[in-house]
Amino acid sequence: MKWTESDIALFEKEKEYVDTAVLPLVPISMTSSLKTTVSMGEYISIISSELERQLKGRLLLLPAFTYLSSEEQETTKNRLKKVEEELKLGGIQHIISLTADVNWKQVEDQVSSALLWMPAIPLEHMDEQYKMETVSAQVKQVLQFVTNTWQSNINS
């Protein structure tokens, strides 16, 4: 489900079925390596919206968690933790953070969400057909990751 009024109305009605939140982690920078930063954000937003389309009924796609590239890692991490707490209070059991920013790998074990890092693929010069194939192949693997998270929860 998306972060829109109509979807949220459905979310409130069917809360027991929606236990997963997807949080894209998107860096912002206007001064250094602008293009790389933008491509990270764009790629992650494509992947996460495609993921939402496939698993609409069980996950809620949140607006991106944004931070400055120059921000202290400690502060960003603490801010993310606050968001995670809030989501947990709202009844979300699984939080999946998607990012293309490799810095998150270093704090992966300190946050409670399932953090998934993937390198941003530059889609800029691809033709439409190839782009769709690339994205859907990538999303397929992310899907696997998400369903595994659900599975492991049942077993535990």
Partner: protein, 165 residues
């Protein structure tokens, strides 16, 4: 003789006035009529068919095909990806099912669960459908999968809108 054919001043004025007046009236009425009947003219364009695949590629096994349609959402026009499960049934007829689960709208997958190799399976809450798209009793979905409007032209399969059964 030449005199008989001559047009009087009064006649000439009459003709030219009705002529000009008629143009002006038509100029005013035409747009109004056009506006009034516009919704009727537009209806035809709504149901658009999109080419999806060659009919020769279709087998008994459902395959997922993705295609793009233009969607107008208020003032925002965008390209939306849609998928369909396409296969031939026992009577050799082409079937195109919408993969959107009737429970909460996840995308269902064919034979993705090893326990149910001949069913559509929804990864979200374990909803199941038989090959013809009918929901399995006891799983969350309460209705069968939507079926696409379809037509075949020049060996190509065209899909329109998914319709509930």
């Amino acid at each position: 003789m030449a005199k008989k054919k001559e047009v009087t001043r009064r006649q000439f004025l009459n003709y030219s006035l009705t002529g000009v007046g008629g143009f002006m009236a038509a100029g005013m009425l035409m747009p109004m009529v056009r506006f009034a009947i516009d919704p009727l003219l537009k209806e035809g364009a709504k149901q658009e068919f999109v080419p999806v695949m060659d009919t020769s590629e279709i087998t008994n096994k459902p395959v997922r095909k993705e295609f793009k349609i233009d969607q107008v959402d208020g003032w925002y026009e965008s390209e939306v990806t849609q998928s369909a499960w396409v296969y031939k049934d026992e009577k050799d007829e082409i079937v195109a099912l919408s993969p959107v689960c009737k429970h909460l709208g996840c995308t269902v997958d064919w034979a993705s669960n090893a326990a149910y190799p001949d069913q559509f399976y929804c990864p979200c809450h374990g909803g199941r459908y038989t090959k013809d798209g009918v929901n399995v009793k006891g799983t969350p979905p309460l209705a069968p999968l939507d079926v696409y409007n379809k037509k075949v032209e020049d060996g190509k399969l065209y899909l329109g809108k998914p319709e509930p059964r």
